[in-house]
């Protein structure tokens, strides 16, 4: 017997009228965005969050610095950990290139959001404090743009007016998948202009020092902004400005910095807060990604060995046999039996981003390139860096370095040795339009083909995944 249900359709109608309900409970272990900028203390912690993003293993804790040296000729990629990048043969799908790009833009985006958040909540703190914090964020934003534009685009002098493609310049805060974030690559000139604007703003507003020496070395100060400006202008070939900003730091206008007595005193536990350190990225046990630290690549895994040509007095006569940077900072690894750098041996080693020695070298190079500078000015600073490390060699004199070319060669050679393995080499090679020769492959025996200035793979590829997601707005680097 067939039964017909009469109540079934009624039930269906009732069920269809249920509507959505949304919970309004906040999670316990996180802060809702609108509370982040509700107190001064939280704002400060949010600013530290920007530095924390800069501290990513793929950015300034390690990778951005390591890749700069891996693409130079002074390291041997002995475990082949860096594969194609070290061989100038990467593809646009290269994972390391993608990760550093992402980490850099994360730091920039965080800085933009904190600036936005603070500017909308100035009433919760004092105007001076708000300005100071926004200046710190601009510093983070500038540094991140700077490393990215030098890794992913050709140097400033590649075209007459630096009109060649750089990277997207991001100054707007985004909280969602805003189509405005899909910006094309600005020209290198535009990127540098933004970096300089941000650093100058920061220089005006940042304090001379923060509360403690620890805070002064790990957060931005006037000295950090000025030193960074000297480097940015040097890369831009604006030698007058480079010289002036470097001089301001040397002249103790932003604090009393000086060189440590021994080169080894610049690195390692206990040496992070010396008078030579201007800005470093700190580290701590548990606060780093395993494998993504300078120590991991240079010491623990011995991924990177020092090239024999860097150490050979015939191929590198500038590094004397008794130079302290050789005797104190480079040694034979007991197990692997290869020469390695000793700069980063502690598990939670800090990354030296700006050191006083670099400021002296910036000054020397800018002054040497500037017309009308007395050579003596240059030599004083050059010798200051070199005297700390030379033992039996004689100091440089006007007689020894008679003309401008020889002087510049000496300065660049000194920079190569002093800042070795600190994330400078490929940038110095690119901006001085030098040819990369004599680079060894991971087996120590094969030499890689020489790379002329402007070669496609002297810079990293714009990541394929980013180009795809931009729907063609981001243009690729030639050769990739």
């Amino acid at each position: 017997m067939r039964k017909i249900c009469y109540w079934l359709p009624v039930l269906c109608v009732l069920m269809a009228s249920c509507h959505d309900m949304v919970t309004d409970i906040d999670p316990e272990n996180r802060i809702n965005t609108n509370q982040v900028f509700s107190t001064a203390a939280n704002m400060n912690t949010a600013v530290v969050g920007c530095y924390n993003s800069l501290q990513a293993g793929d950015m300034l804790q390690a990778r951005a610095l390591v890749l700069a040296d891996v693409m130079g000729e002074d390291l041997v990629n002995r475990t082949n950990n860096f594969g194609d990048i070290a061989r100038y043969n990467a593809l646009s799908s290269n994972t390391m290139a993608a990760r550093t790009w992402q980490a850099g833009y994360k730091a920039i985006a965080d800085a933009n959001r904190v600036i936005d958040g603070i500017s909308k909540n100035v009433d919760k703190t004092t105007p001076e404090q708000a300005q100071r914090w926004m200046a710190e964020c601009k510093f983070v934003r500038a540094i991140a743009h700077f490393y990215l534009v030098n890794l992913y685009a050709q140097s400033y002098g590649f075209t007459a007016d630096a009109s060649h493609p750089g990277i997207p310049v991001m100054t707007q805060a985004f909280y969602s998948n805003d189509p405005a974030a899909n910006k094309p690559r600005s020209s290198v000139k535009q990127v540098y202009d933004q970096i300089i604007t941000d650093l100058k703003d920061a220089l005006d507003t940042l304090p001379l020092s923060n509360n403690t020496p620890y805070q002064s070395k790990t957060r931005a100060t006037k000295a950090a902004a000025a030193a960074m400006l000297s480097r940015v202008y040097l890369y831009k070939d604006d030698v007058e400005n480079a010289k002036n900003y470097a001089w301001a730091v040397i002249n103790k206008q932003y604090g009393d910095f000086g060189l440590n007595t021994e080169p080894s005193q610049c690195y390692g536990a206990g040496n992070y807060l010396t008078k030579e350190s201007i800005f470093s990225i700190p580290s701590k046990a548990g606060d780093f990604e395993v494998g993504y630290t300078l120590t991991a690549n240079y010491t623990t895994n011995v991924d990177l060995g020092v090239s024999p040509d860097f150490l050979n007095v015939l191929t590198n006569p500038w590094l004397a046999a008794d130079d302290k940077r050789r005797t104190q900072l480079i040694a034979l690894h007991p197990v692997q039996q290869v020469m390695v750098s000793l700069k980063y041996r502690d598990v939670a080693d800090w990354a030296p981003v700006i050191r006083y020695a670099e400021v002296l070298l910036n000054y020397a190079e800018a002054a040497a390139k500037a017309p009308g500078t007395a050579p003596q000015e240059v030599l004083i600073r050059l010798n200051e860096v070199r005297n700390r490390s030379r033992v039996s060699a004689l100091p440089y004199t006007n007689m020894l370095l008679a003309d401008k070319t020889q002087l510049l060669n000496a300065i660049l050679a000194e920079r190569r040795i002093e800042l070795a393995f600190e994330g400078h080499r490929i940038f110095d090679l690119n901006r001085n339009k030098l040819r990369i020769t004599g680079k060894r492959d991971f087996d120590y025996n094969t030499f890689l083909p020489a790379q002329d200035y402007g070669a496609d793979k002297r810079i990293l590829p714009i990541p394929l995944v980013e180009m795809e997601r931009s729907g063609g707005v981001l243009e690729k680097n030639p050769g990739y």
Partner: protein, 405 residues
């Protein structure tokens, strides 16, 4: 339906039921607090830092699925043969997918949960349960099921963009998770060089010597090389089997029973990332034995290009590593013995059965990797089907005793 007058007296058909259902379900099974924007405490060495944790999405809504299901159950010959069949079509709207976004937005993980996408899934399922032999102490019971499921992305975001993730994509008009790869067109017999197809389908050959150069093999002239921009959506090739099911058979004689269970899946592809990494000529890892099939001399029809140290382009991500994953797996072989009743009477036990079982003992597949069910990315909407050093499903051998009191 078997109660209807015209079927009531049938001696073959005992039971026949037609059924249909239609429902609207919601789903928000996407983690905790996906809609709210939150920050979390991290550390910048010794200092405390606040960093964005989830970007949230105030516009997030329930996913909506409307499913229509029509099926029939039939029972024939007094239960000797039972057949169930279902046809369904399901329209899903506002799928909550992780939308991969640009790094310049700067949100954690570079993805954001959004309601996007419409998907239509259609399928047919058939289950047959039969007892072919039932005489005396012999019994043979057989269960067979098969499903055919196909989906199609109706829309993604408002602009109809394709959403890429890994080697797959969601593109309107294609199946969800369709592979998106560069097309590999084989190895040149004369020179052993790799040939790829560019976006327009033209062949391009790569010569790794002297920094690498590309030519058009038809004319021998230099040509623009192939790059990531030449990837195409490979219609019909997805990581999801379109045809799959199982086949279980149990034969028993008295207290002895033997079960054989099979599982099968057809019409799907796996991206063999493991092999791609092991064949990579830019690292010094051990190589797969497949390197023996690389090109060695002129005129040889080789599977893989000539080996050349440092050559990344001839071995890059492409259909070279996409393989059919079709397989038949023996899921279970079990042999058991139930102690007869007159033995159990003495020990007052209700039932004792001794058995030996092998799980996943055999796998029949042409897939070169460890296991065609490998999946490095877990349960994602797009980007499944990548075998990156995944282990095989373990073979287990066990024996035991089941006792009922």
């Amino acid at each position: 339906m078997s109660q209807e007058d015209f079927l009531k007296s049938s001696k073959v058909l005992n039971d026949l039921k037609l059924r249909a259902s239609y429902g609207l379900t919601g789903n928000a099974n996407v983690g905790y607090f996906p809609a709210s924007a939150t920050y979390q405490y991290l550390s910048y060495a010794d200092s405390s830092a606040l960093n964005i944790s989830t970007p949230g999405n105030a516009d997030l809504r329930w996913e909506k699925s409307r499913q229509l299901n029509i099926g029939a159950d039939a029972s024939l010959w007094n239960g000797l043969l039972n057949v169930t069949t279902d046809w369904f079509v399901k329209n899903s709207k506002d799928l909550i997918l992780t939308n991969p976004i640009l790094s310049t937005v700067g949100l954690p993980g570079n993805n954001i949960l959004q309601n996007m996408g419409q998907l239509r899934t259609q399928g047919v399922e058939l289950t047959v349960q039969a007892t072919p032999v039932k005489s005396g102490k012999w019994r043979w019971q057989s269960d067979w099921n098969i499903s055919y499921v196909k989906n199609k992305v109706i829309a993604t975001n408002g602009k109809g963009d394709q959403i890429n993730e890994g080697y797959g994509l969601a593109k309107p008009g294609e199946e969800l998770g369709t592979y998106y790869l560069l097309r590999f067109a084989g190895v040149d017999d004369a020179t052993g060089r790799a040939i790829y197809l560019n976006k327009d389908g033209q062949q391009r050959m790569y010569n790794p010597a002297a920094g690498g150069s590309w030519t058009d093999p038809a004319t021998g002239q230099a040509a623009t090389g192939v790059s990531g921009a030449d990837k195409v959506a490979l219609s019909g090739k997805t990581p999801y089997p379109k045809l799959y099911g199982g086949f279980y058979n149990t034969v028993s004689y008295g207290g002895i029973d033997l079960t054989l269970g099979l599982q099968y899946a057809f019409d799907f592809y796996v991206y063999n990332q493991t092999l791609a990494t092991l064949m990579d000529n830019t690292n010094a890892y051990n190589k797969s034995a497949e390197v023996l099939k690389s090109w060695k001399q002129a005129g040889q029809q080789a599977v893989y290009p000539a080996m050349y140290w440092g050559d990344a382009a001839s071995w890059q991500e492409s259909t070279q590593w996409l393989e059919k994953g079709n397989f038949v797996r023996v899921r279970e072989i079990t042999l058991g013995y139930k102690l007869p009743a007159h033995v159990l009477q003495h020990v007052k036990l209700d039932r004792v059965r001794i058995y030996a079982q092998a799980q996943n003992p055999f796998l029949f597949t042409k897939y070169k990797g460890m296991d065609p069910e490998a999946n490095a990315n877990g349960n994602v909407n797009i980007g499944m089907g990548i075998d990156s050093f995944r282990p095989f499903i373990a073979k287990t051998f066990m024996a035991g005793i089941q006792i009922s009191l």
